[in-house]
Symmetry: D2
Amino acid sequence: MSDVKKVVLAYSGGLDTSVILKWLQDQYRCEVVTFTADLGQGEELEPARQKALQFGIKPGNIYIDDVREEFVRDFVFPMFRANTIYEGEYLLGTSIARPLIAKRLIEIARETGADAISHGATGKGNDQVRFELGAYALMPEVKVIAPWREWDLLSREKLLAYAEANGIPVEMKHKNGGAPYSMDANLLHISFEGRHLEDPKAEAEESMWRWTVSPEAAPDAAEYIDLEFEKGDVVGINGVRLKAHEVLAKLNELGGKHGIGRLDLVENRYVGMKSRGCYETPGGTILLKAHRGIESITLDREVAHLKDSLMPRYAELIYNGYWWSPERRALQVLIDHTQGYVNGWVRLKLYKGGVSVVARDSKDTLFDQTIATFDDDGGAYNQADAGGFIKLNALRLRIAGKKGR
Amino acid sequence: MSDVKKVVLAYSGGLDTSVILKWLQDQYRCEVVTFTADLGQGEELEPARQKALQFGIKPGNIYIDDVREEFVRDFVFPMFRANTIYEGEYLLGTSIARPLIAKRLIEIARETGADAISHGATGKGNDQVRFELGAYALMPEVKVIAPWREWDLLSREKLLAYAEANGIPVEMKHKNGGAPYSMDANLLHISFEGRHLEDPKAEAEESMWRWTVSPEAAPDAAEYIDLEFEKGDVVGINGVRLKAHEVLAKLNELGGKHGIGRLDLVENRYVGMKSRGCYETPGGTILLKAHRGIESITLDREVAHLKDSLMPRYAELIYNGYWWSPERRALQVLIDHTQGYVNGWVRLKLYKGGVSVVARDSKDTLFDQTIATFDDDGGAYNQADAGGFIKLNALRLRIAGKKGR
Amino acid sequence: MSDVKKVVLAYSGGLDTSVILKWLQDQYRCEVVTFTADLGQGEELEPARQKALQFGIKPGNIYIDDVREEFVRDFVFPMFRANTIYEGEYLLGTSIARPLIAKRLIEIARETGADAISHGATGKGNDQVRFELGAYALMPEVKVIAPWREWDLLSREKLLAYAEANGIPVEMKHKNGGAPYSMDANLLHISFEGRHLEDPKAEAEESMWRWTVSPEAAPDAAEYIDLEFEKGDVVGINGVRLKAHEVLAKLNELGGKHGIGRLDLVENRYVGMKSRGCYETPGGTILLKAHRGIESITLDREVAHLKDSLMPRYAELIYNGYWWSPERRALQVLIDHTQGYVNGWVRLKLYKGGVSVVARDSKDTLFDQTIATFDDDGGAYNQADAGGFIKLNALRLRIAGKKGR
Amino acid sequence: MSDVKKVVLAYSGGLDTSVILKWLQDQYRCEVVTFTADLGQGEELEPARQKALQFGIKPGNIYIDDVREEFVRDFVFPMFRANTIYEGEYLLGTSIARPLIAKRLIEIARETGADAISHGATGKGNDQVRFELGAYALMPEVKVIAPWREWDLLSREKLLAYAEANGIPVEMKHKNGGAPYSMDANLLHISFEGRHLEDPKAEAEESMWRWTVSPEAAPDAAEYIDLEFEKGDVVGINGVRLKAHEVLAKLNELGGKHGIGRLDLVENRYVGMKSRGCYETPGGTILLKAHRGIESITLDREVAHLKDSLMPRYAELIYNGYWWSPERRALQVLIDHTQGYVNGWVRLKLYKGGVSVVARDSKDTLFDQTIATFDDDGGAYNQADAGGFIKLNALRLRIAGKKGR
């Protein structure tokens, strides 16, 4: 055990981080500061304050912050400007929240004079990496306490026993023999891991999903919505101007109603193993489609292709926890630069789990009907040019062909 | 007019290529060989023979080939091994058929001693490039006649006038004032361009779609299907072993029934303009999802990421017409190499326009439940390792942080 | 011949562009504005004015500009920030000057109300593309006259005959039977093409080289120089602060003296053919080495690798003439962003054609001797961390290995 | 201490690995198998056998192998096919030898029934990673003993004390107060780290270099050599056909004589720190230049550019120790595929530290003089084609320009 004076704990108020809180007090005999964030996960946060007080945390050491606007404005939206998807499917809902939490943990550490941070992520997952890389980048000398990598409470039984022995209330859901899903939620998504999902050939139970109705239960009539974009970000829905976090909340509501954004996949974790996860990302799924739609008319072809070629690496950086790295920042500078003309609106159809772009327009459109038309274009485009274009592009192929290749 | 003795024409039997056939005979005064391919577009091909005969084409100069198996086996499937998508959306249904047609045109040119090929693609589109790059690569000395870049029949009116003046039958659909959609179909997709689609802010008409029912009209009950993969290709559906083209035909039937695979987008053409297109790719949409699903458990993480990083360039090559280029072949060698272990099955749910993976398994799975489990893993994974992993990955960030960056 | 009122000609004063000047007057019967740039090519420019006057060009239509500082500051230095090399060898000396000339041609066209530009680049080379892409990007409606693609003076004999018939003075070097090398010079380099260089298996003649002594003839003693960097650019040499173009002039002098920067290669032109070229880039060769040296201690590893991964594409864009494209600008934003900490000095040894970095230092260094040392580091680095680092990086390899892969 | 029965040690016979041998016997009380490789490092290996016998190693447990041919043929040459350079400078001489040693360690472990391997690399460097990733990939269950990460002999003084206490002979070079350079040598290079090189602003001492004369001391006359390539590998020098390792030995001799291949740089280690290293790679430096030279006339442009774009990642994989990973193998398949036509000869000039290509030819050349010529080409290339080529490539730029971008 290293020598720690004061530690800031990412504290949800749930069972695991409550056990950690107590364990930190016992093992490290240090002052604990709790940080509980409202990321839009849809849970009451005041109970976390009460629990913290019960553990003897000083009121001034309890931080409960509403960071929803910062989350969407400074993390989610910048990420969507790149049309970011990890491994062709995953919208990075958990990954993108971790750097914000790391940032707040360090800010609070500096405010309170703490020398350490702690979190409840296990030693098998990506989140420990995301928290800690962020913390080290922002405060190189910080100490990190990762209880799951240190203690011996490695099974659910031992954890429950420790909780009961220390008077930590355990909700019913933890007691019914089987462990609950490992879940994470914020304004962008809710995720599910563990339990029978550990078998990739077993279909997820309908009862697992929380935020979306099943497509079968969604309305029988499609709904159309219009999204307004400015510099690559949505600023209004159906003509109503909204703040960033309001945009995402509204899209979640719409998507959830229409059964949009469920995902079931096996992903590759940064720590080297494959893992089955299920995700509900209703608003994000709509947002991605819409953003591609508005870019399709406002971005130059080669800029769009450059972005597409960089995206997998950018997604990997976020997934692996490198939000606060200089390489992610460098890529962001490029991505943000490309969004200057990504303005306009996109119309989407929402229906039974599906979202599709049906129309789009922009004052900054690069779609030029006079050139694209099948009708007479009055000379806007000289078809004969294509002959030379093809001839020169073919030249190296022809030279090789003549050599019998 | 260059000096041409014999020309092989990609001949559909439709109005445009019939006009071209006649025009070639008149302008070039050369022998014409017609090539009509059954790519699974779902049209009778014998009428093309009759028409060709009426133009005086010698029976031995009329080629009508069923290339469906070759198309899917040697072009569609290799492309799907890379999870290929152009600009985040387009499944390249037209692009992937062109190199096969180019190959057959050249094969027939060699068989018949022709010195030129001709096609009906306009000077504004991508298809001229795809046909001609392929032809030049495979027969460097070939002459190419692209009537749309040469003649003066640039409006639909002039074309119809020429047809009537030369006794070429014109179907009713061409006569009703408005031009029809510009369409292209093969086993992978059917595409629509032109008419009111030229306005990107206008929604496509429901009556336009041909291969898929609308999601609203699809069955109210979901359907589950199992796809069997070998080396990255689907070889069976629901336990029935099928040839490549049968696989795609069956998936089209299933997808079409469930309203799957409609797409409405604005894409960037190689010739430099943006263009609105609508596509129906029912089977391909299912195939892409399923292939990602089987790869998710059988591919190594870094191999998967390498493929993802190369995919945009590979897609661009196919879109731009470089199938027969050495760089596409080099990428294919890598892609094919990665598919050796992509074996197993994927279960998909089809419902109202949506397709989702719900289960997958493989004898070659790299998913290791003993390591991934949230339960006690008996030491298969040492959580303490993660501490060192993070510490060293953070080292450069901490050194930079200490310098105040 | 399209209808042109006034054309701005990139005019060197040499034989070719003098013939073009006359030809434009005769063929297009339009007003000609001449633009002659001092890019540091080391030739007198006033003779160009005299010649232009002899052709009847109005004094107000003769532009002779010293653009050396702009050239190095806004084009050469930004390019070197990316350690740009084309095809592993070529430092892009010609490529990087063309966009500046294109920019000035268009600026002058706007000032003088011209509707066209013209240049002396042939239809086989890259320069036509660079001039014209730049011009079209900066003035989309501009007309371009490329005489070499239009006229029939395609052999040197015809050109000389035209010159003599029109009273255009022909220097002796053009007359001695053999054509001279095709050369291009500016502050960054001088290039040679043509003549017996057209045979790639023939060594270049010693007499061809102009700016550098042969390594054999260089001083027998090495010379050491110190370069001072700020934000990735050299701002001083041996303690003397210099302007951008003075930096390059001084490095050319030093490099030339020591026989540095000769290059003999076969490159791939954008128009599809391979071409033999010889280059002398004395200052640029030193600059590249030095820039890599200063980056080696000031750039983060992953930022450096990101730059390296983007460089080939960036180099291709410049080589192919896309300086004024949005994708080059987007990449530049990223590149420039990375240079904020690229400050410090580099010591180089120059000797007999070689340049090597022997020392470097920076207040912004990320080299941390306390960590890197082979001696006891007092706990700055915990070697045990490496075990976990390796274990987790190996995990996927081990899982695959257990499956017999 | 984990339970180890038999360990294969990578044994050089030097001080460090001799201490390790003894320490393994003492600490693990297990049977030790020694493996000593002749990689062309130029040292007698029989003394290693004598030392091993003195430690009581059974004769059958002493492996001394000449792996020079395998090293160059299966590791060095494949790497050079990609023109591989790490961070713009480093030719990966150490990196490329480690996977071969890892492979042999595991082969010997299987032969002798050993359950562990051990090596003398420190916990700060890259070599531990390279050894261990290779070992884990090839034998997932193997145990790895890395003494430098386990023991307390972390300073040179402690190591020397342990050696003397255990009767391990210490050469004079280790005793003179200062530690020697940390060196590694094989047929590709010799490297130097540590001592006063730990200060990047100090120039390396002339006395440090071993394999090359200084450029100043090199012959005053240049030497020309011809290299013959087959499928990307050198198979002959000056008309004499040679085995792979003979090629490299001969090039080392030539390069060393002419002072070629010295390098002084700061590199980024995989474990997160920057490190100063000096390298002599005489033969490799010649080889890289020559390979680029032969590729310049035999590779298609886009294939060459594809290779260039992949090279930084390929180099990173080798540097970081992922030779035996599936992603390196996938890239190798692509790289090897591209070398089928890389045949022919290259003439190089060696002089005073410099190597330059002066001529090259190949039966598979894609250089087409009839097209490239500045003289009349008899219609091989139609210059007018370039107009259309430029026009279409400019189209998107012009459309954007018209929108004021």
